[in-house]
Assembly symmetry: C3
Homo-oligomer: 334 residues x 3
């Protein structure tokens, strides 16, 4: 029961080149490639003839040629050549998915192409803002995408899962302000004289900081954590902005694609620093991957569960998805 | 819904020795061994007592002794000894399968032994002809055996899958003559001044050849490709015969045994050349294995499919199997 | 249909320390640890909040803290701390299992705690007797625990499976005396002038021995083989006692925990000899593991089976389990 009529992050811009690239999106096998004019094409990854994955084929000009019998498909998914015959059956085609490249990501629309409106592409301006420096990475996590969203929306886990990276007990002890919109959830905290978390120590080089943090979620799987930090008490001094983007796309029911990046508005020309922060934030995602996969492996839908106060943002997100029809009715106790 | 009353290639002669040898045939676990007089025996690979695989046991004379409690079975599958007691239960036996060794292969009959007629063993004379040189190999392919037969009967895939070995665009461009018999399918092509495919270049050492090729299929999983080649235009000159045998036996519904060999009528005493051609043809089978396993892994029985003209021989083969009751009714568009 | 109200060996004493230790018992995920006073605690290995395995968490004093959001549980399974809030939901708890440490083993009661009577813990005095020397080991076997019990109760398999270790054809040829009690099965053999089995040769250093052997089984998965050996004919001379303990605990339906040890009443201060015998008996268990896993992998519940005379003790054990409600009705022919 995935929402089909929505844009999903399918790949980093840099992942799709002039050769076939395979990825499962919402249980669909998809092959992507770039045309000679750098346009991204996304087709069903299954030849209309005998189901061989087209991603094992090769590009001939802007057409994708099947590895097995050489059938060629154009960018619309229509079969345009069958080597051994002159006629082409009317139904010789594979599905073509609307795709748009924006903010350094390839966005794919699995649903009705007529409804694909580019204006509704999730706004990840942070990932492409000229005034910011940062870098996106990709990984998979073997869990349902909802567990990924839960993870970001209850940032208090940082105190335990990310002890060595983002860990800060102050986060757990600071009650959040929760803003629930029609189509988004925001979780705000303001921490004064916080012991700087290990990762931020390495980035900001201050032992204690004042920090405000806002976690933003919007459908289907978009999240951004915005951090504003400054030297303790120095409210008029330099403010450091750090944006952590994490986007979840369902691959299958128990595996997810994760696109993650950290962007900042200071020291923006320092490329080594950009590489360093990208690596650090990727390491924290590896910690999340560990806990999320361990949760998925242990998951028993019949086991009783309790809710805690900090689950409220995650439930707010699920209620948005429930209204969209993406998940079944929620019973929450907080 | 496999045809039980038929002969299936179960092993190469050289694979079965004076020790138990396990192989699954049509989802049945079978153990084979040779008696002291070199006769091949094939029994159910599951002790009648506690189901331990007999293939983990050992031969005592011509009897197979179970690894666990030492029960011994004779060549008819009857239990003839239980170490700890003098009486033997009447139903203490495992199934014995009719087996015949012919043309360098062990043929097994999974069905009613009373119907096993040696005269109906598929005629792979090529594999044992004294005037030919060649060698058989064995491999498994993780796909249904029907995909293997499809592969051989549409040899046009050579232009794409076997670009570096058998590849020849001429094959795709030469319309085949298709001869459909009651119990066989033949696909013939005659190519003049063909750019010699890489594998044949290495064998025949000519850049261009005139070549006729006939692909022969007969049930259940027997195929042979007969090639006659000669120097371009030199129809009265030396003719080179090359026979490529490929036999498919279902192991399970998604795995198959493949017996493959290349035999020739020239340079027959050159053993190094025999080894070389055996290795080359095995390499092409590895290319087929790659495409067939990729197809099987991608297979969705509900996905729509189109047919192409070159599928006609494969459909003819499937109609033979359909008439035999081996597969369900076929709906083909070519 | 496992018996819940019973004591099961869950771990060797030495396996459970001041850190979480995970093990599945009767399809339940369990985490064990020791308190600061060395008491063993066993809890459900699934946080009541979001199902993350508690075994991935850490001890804070005698409380177990979840890895994800820091919830803490006391030894009774009650959640006693949720870092981000002051109240704790009434149902915030995980199951706690009665556990008792006895005879060098941790015994766990998966059923109703009110019925857990320490007096009913299986009496493995051999494993803790001061006058004996020996050592327990642990391994898993990928088979149902019943196949493990079968294996011990038909010791005749030693002649085939353990040819290189315990193997003795005399065992097969010596008819056993079978004593079937309400709640135990005993299988006795007395062998005069037996060719000393390889393992015993290494232990006793005699080529031939007189030996009595009694195999004892009692529910759920307890077995002990008691061997009395002396020099041939020397009935008044020195008697060597060797006890081989093997305890099976279901992990899942097709995997079992096995606790195994060999204890003796001679040369008891020789620690190297103790290590040596522990290693030897572990090697024989590896042989049993091989045959039992091979049986489980080959197992087809619909395949016909015969019984042999030596199956009587195993059926007697199964009848005890049948009366307890642990297994379905048995149809045996011996």
């Amino acid at each position: 029961m995935y929402i089909q009529d929505a844009w999903y992050a399918a790949a980093l811009s840099g992942e799709v080149k002039r050769e076939p690239f395979a990825r499962s999106i919402l249980n669909e096998k998809v092959v992507m490639y770039r045309t000679s004019t750098e346009q991204v094409v996304a087709l069903e990854d299954r030849c209309a003839h005998r189901q061989v994955p087209l991603s094992r084929g090769r590009l001939v000009g802007d057409e994708l040629q099947c590895w097995y019998h050489g059938l060629r498909y154009d960018c619309s998914g229509a079969c345009v050549s069958i080597p051994s015959q002159n006629t082409i059956p009317i139904n010789a085609r594979v599905r073509a998915f609307p795709v748009v490249e924006k903010h350094g990501l390839i966005w794919l629309w699995p649903g009705d192409p007529a409804k694909a409106d580019e204006a509704s592409i999730p706004n990840h301006w942070v990932c492409a803002a000229p005034e910011l420096a940062g870098k996106m990475s990709y990984c998979t996590i073997d869990c349902n995408y909802l567990f990924g969203i839960d993870n970001i929306l209850d940032i208090s886990h940082a105190a335990f899962v990310h002890q060595k990276t983002l860990g800060s007990l102050d986060i757990v002890e600071t009650p959040p302000e929760i803003l629930i919109g029609e189509n988004e959830v925001r979780v705000r905290r303001y921490m004064r004289r916080e012991k700087t978390p290990p990762l931020y120590t390495r980035i900001l080089q201050m032992e204690y900081i004042d920090r405000s943090q806002e976690v933003l979620y919007w459908p289907i799987g978009n999240t951004r954590v915005e951090t504003r930090a400054h030297a303790c008490g120095d409210e008029d001094g330099k403010v450091y902005h750090v944006y952590t983007t994490t986007i979840f796309t369902p691959a299958t029911d128990t595996t997810s694609h994760v696109f993650v990046g950290m962007h900042r508005d200071f020291d923006v020309d320092n490329h080594m620093f950009t590489e360093f922060t990208a690596k650090e934030v990727f390491n924290t995602v590896m910690e999340d991957k560990d806990v999320a996969e361990s949760l998925q492996a242990n998951w028993d839908p019949k086991a009783p569960m309790i809710d805690i106060q900090l689950d409220r943002p995650a439930y707010a997100a699920r209620r948005i998805l429930e209204r969209m029809g993406a998940i079944a009715a929620i019973r929450a106790t907080v």
